[in-house]
Structures are given as structure tokens and as C-alpha cells.
Symmetry: C2
Subunit: 338 residues, 2 copies
Amino acid sequence: MKMVSMKDVSAACGVSIATVSKALNGQPDIKEETREYIRQVAKEMGYFPNSAAKALKTNRTYNLGVLFTDESRSGLTHDYFSHVLESFKNAAEEKGYDITFINSCKNRPNKMSYLEHARYRGFDGVVIACVDFDDPQVGELVKSSLPVVTIDHLFNNRSTIVSDNVKGMRDLVHYIYEMGHRRIAYIHGADSTVTQNRLSSFYKTCEELGVDIPPEYVREAPYRDTKETYVETEKLLDLKEPPTCIVYPDDFSCFGGINAISERGLKIPDDVSIAGYDGIGIAMQFKPRLTTIVQDTERLGREAAKKLISLIENPKTTIAEQIIVPGKVFSGESVKKL
Amino acid sequence: MKMVSMKDVSAACGVSIATVSKALNGQPDIKEETREYIRQVAKEMGYFPNSAAKALKTNRTYNLGVLFTDESRSGLTHDYFSHVLESFKNAAEEKGYDITFINSCKNRPNKMSYLEHARYRGFDGVVIACVDFDDPQVGELVKSSLPVVTIDHLFNNRSTIVSDNVKGMRDLVHYIYEMGHRRIAYIHGADSTVTQNRLSSFYKTCEELGVDIPPEYVREAPYRDTKETYVETEKLLDLKEPPTCIVYPDDFSCFGGINAISERGLKIPDDVSIAGYDGIGIAMQFKPRLTTIVQDTERLGREAAKKLISLIENPKTTIAEQIIVPGKVFSGESVKKL
DNA sequence: CCTACTCACTTAATCGTTTTCGTATTTTTA
DNA sequence: TAAAAATACGAAAACGATTAAGTGAGTAGG
């Protein structure tokens, strides 16, 4: 099926191609009735612009690149990031942008770097999340002249949208403290900006509250790994003085802890309290509902899109900044009042 | 930053643009040493093709459109479909295709239909999943001349990849039957092809097995809705002869049932058995692990990509067919041996 | 009535490729 | 050795849009 082009419309209207272009794009030097007529005919003929031709001429694709992979290869199936992406996508679409994935170069037959891929496709801008930020290819992308917004990781001179992990962890610890807990353990995720922020905030808040955290209360398990949290939870429960509350890397990995706890015949929260991080749907619906920090994924995605598009459309006046999106304590039933 | 084009390469090499194009594309009428030289120079100069120009000329974008929305607006955050999409994406990338979302037209400023959007972007093909298949816009897309593959829904003359819901439900019912259950309830999802297949398979299998299903054992709740399954589960438990096993629309919605059951002080599976459908990670890890049908999302996505690309690259020899991907019973601990 | 503007449109170049059709040179064939 | 055929490359026209510059008709001003 042949696409109808401006040429066809111009022929049908008896005007030049330029006139059609201007009429359709709302240029001022076209008489109102001519414009209406052309629009009418174009519509009837089923005309739609050809994005490739438009992009070639204008150097604008109205297409945004999305770099969304992580070491655990969870990609789109990652609860947190899929929500952020969904929101990013909706916000971008509202402004007339489409989104395309920048792919893992290893998959590519002709292997391009992320940056090369972005240039090849002519993305107007790029959003980076959930990746290994130490990857040199990511660095290349960030240092390029493309508009870039990162999520949950700060680069020099770049805009970033971060979930407020410092305040989040702080609020969570405060909540737990106020519920009367003093023996608080934290199984934190693998090393990353996010983890560092949460961890240091955990220590700092505990110190402020005068809560002493023995070294064996702080352990590590990868994000979203129930097997590891299962093991670490066992170790915590085996301590001669076990914690009264355990904070997990994220909601998903909580379930590993829940398994370990209930296998010992212990009840949550009566015998042990637990808390997660993220606010994924299931954790907040399943009884006992999980006490957690709900990250505002909707806003994270929306702000990222807004910032990126602003960077694209008003490069002069848009400043690189860090936008911090607060989360909220969801007080489920998994932390007991002591 | 200026992109280096073939023109630049041709100037640097002292050959014509045509020669550069041919050399880079492996056309046969270029001397081997010239080709090597041009390739070398192009590489050094950091040349990369411009996809828009290429697409304009060849009418091939190596970009696939993905239509992935559903009435509950869960979009990317849908467990099942995000897994299928992830796999589709990986398979497509391996063959050199990128993927771009076809968006919900309501978001578009200049509202295009799905088909118009697909034509505008020049997608080589389109995959459709998780949408309201009765939407006239979807119909328009399916009836168009674009290569189309649908997931979990069959259209005339189109290729589709379906999860084998008939066999899946059959296997699940058989498993439950063999565990000794005779009073089996089924809370099915909202009406759709998927639901119809599962439901009729449920009835048929029960009949074959000589299991009588009283009408009040079959209820409806939307997919992924824990509140509704909670309510329906209560109704089932209130029956004078409650079921010994309840099958839910999907794993996620199972958790609504789990809540209802444990709130009554009943234990799973000792007092009531339950089963889900999907095989989402959490359900299979959390104790008692859920008995469910694991849909082969990896294969669904992969087959969809394979079929779509085949349709694009070998339109003559590729036939429209229905590819049925079987699932597997995951026998967790949520169905008790009676 | 002549000049100077506007207005509304057209001409033509251009974006970066691909591809058809030449054409000049070399190689093969009779 | 002359004609035919193969080889290696170039010129130029597209693809579908945008846009600067140009043009002719109508209007305004003096």
C-alpha cells in the first residue's frame, strides 16, 4: 500500500508542495481558506507525514531513547523500573514523543555502542535508568552532546531524577523507632548509588536516634533475591540477640525473609517485624501488608520525561538539576507496636 | 555535534558517494581493496549511517511497533506481558530490529489511530498484545497490509502466538483432580479469548473426569484484582458445601484469596487448596509456593519476534499460522493431597 | 500615476541515503 | 588483434519533507 505524500496532496489541490507543507504546519504565509482547503483534502486522502523524511530534514525525530537494563537482566520485568517507564512513556506521549529502546549492544548484529545507536536512530534525547553506571559505554553516552536524563544516579552536569532514598530510609527508620523498636537490622542491596544513600541514611538516622547497630545486624543481599534474603534472615534470627525488626533491600526480597521467619514458626509481626522498600502492589495488598517506603514511580517517570523534553526544546533556558522525588511510608501491618 | 555522512567519507577517500554506499553495504561491484579502504576510513571517521535517510530511501526502518495496553491501564507493569515483551525485545534485537511503542491515541496531541501511527513511523511490522481486541482501531491495524503478529488472540489470516490456555487449564484441573480434589471452584477473569479458553477447558475437563461443578463454584473477578477475589473467595467459603480447591484468574489475584482464607484462620493448603495461573516469580517463591501454570513467556516473546520478522523478510514464503505455546504445571505446595 | 509594500504562493536547494544506468578501463575470446 | 565481455567506478535521480529566496498581483502612499 502506497503512502500518500505531500506531492499527492499538492497535485490534488493544484498548489505546490511547499504550500501544502506550510498549510499543514501552520506557517503564517498561507491564506486561511487555502489552508483549510488543503487540510481538508489531505485528511480525505488519508495523508500522514513521513517521520523519516521529516527527521532527515529537521534533525528532530520526536523519538526518545530509553536505556533500561541491569546486571540481573531483569529489564522490563523489574517492578520498580517498569512502573517508572510506564509513567515516563505516558508523559512523553502526551508531548508527542515516542519511545524506543536503546539496546544492549551485545544483542546487536552490527555492534554499536549505546551512543552510536542513539545517533543512528537520531533520538532527540535519552533517559538512562537501572543500568550499570560504571559501564564505559554509559559514560560515553552521558558525556555526549545529547540531552540526557538519568534516573537514580547523578552525573556531572546532567539532570537526574532521584527517588529520595536518604529521606525514605530516614522516615522508615523513624517509623520503626517510633513503633518501639531498638534492635533494627538492615539487609541492604548490592553496592550502588541507591544502596549507598540508603545505607548511610540508615546509619545516620540510627545514630541520631541513639540506636546502636551491631555490625552483624547489617548484611548484604542482592536486590530482588529471595534466596539470599532467606539465608541472611536465618543468620539474623540465629543471633543470640536477634533483631526485633528487619529492613530488606526491597519488597520483593522481603518474601525470602517471610519464608525464613514463618518456617521457624514465628509470626509477622508478632515475633519479628519486617519492612521493605518500593511499594510494589502485591506487598501492599497481601496480609500482613508490608510496611514499606512507596516510591513515587509515577512522579519519577513524569518528571524525567518533563525534564528531558524541556532539555530538548529549550536547551538554553533549561538547567541541569537534580530533582528529588520523595517517597512515603506505607504503614502496613508488618511492623509491630512494641 | 555534526554526524559524519557518506559524503564526508567519500571526500576523504577520494571516491564517489555511490561507491561508499556500495562498499559499506557489501555490493559486489566494488574491488576488494577499495572496499577495505573505505571501510577503514569510515570507521576511523566514526561514520554511522543515518537511519532516517536509509528508511526514507528503502522503506525499511528495522523498527517494530509494539501495541501493549489494556483496559486496566497496567501497560508495562503487567507481569505476564512485561515478561513477554522483554523476551520479544531481546529476540528482535538479535535480528537487528529496534522496538518502539505504538501509543494510546488519547495521549497523542495530534491524534492518530494506531495504524496511522504505525505508518507515520514506518514500522516494518507490529506486534499486538494485551489490548482490547474489539477496539475498532485494533481492527483497522489488523486488517491493514502491515505484517502483524498478535499474542493470545486469533484474527483471520493473521499469525498469532497463543499460550495454550486450553491445555494449561486441562493440566491444572487434572493435577488438582489427581491430588484428590472433587469440589473445585474457579474464579475466572473477565471475558476475553483467554478467559473463554480457560473456562471452557475447565468445564470440559471436569466433565471428562466426571467432576460435577455446581454453578455457584464458578465466579468472576477481573484479572489481577485482589479485592474482588477476596470477596469472591469469601462467598465460596460461605457456601454450605465449600470447595476444597479454588482456582484463581492469575497468580496475583490469588493473594486476595489467600488473605480471605487466612483471615478466617484457615490454612493453605491444609484447610483449603488454591491454584493460580501465570507463574510469576513471587508466587513461586513465597511459601507455601503456589501451584500454578507457568506460561512460557520467554518462548511466547521469542516466537512472536521470530514470526514477525519472518513475515517481514519473507512475505511470500511465510504463512499465517497459529503457534501454540504450552505452559507447565508448577506443583507448589498450595494444593493438598487429599 | 509611479513607487514601495504586503500578501500568498512557487522555485529550488537540501537532508543522507540507495540504486539505476552509464562509461572508462581492463580482460577475455575468437 | 579486434570485438565482446567483464570489472570497477561515477553521475544523477530519487525518497518525502522543510525552508530560504524569489515572484507576481494587489494595495497604499505621496
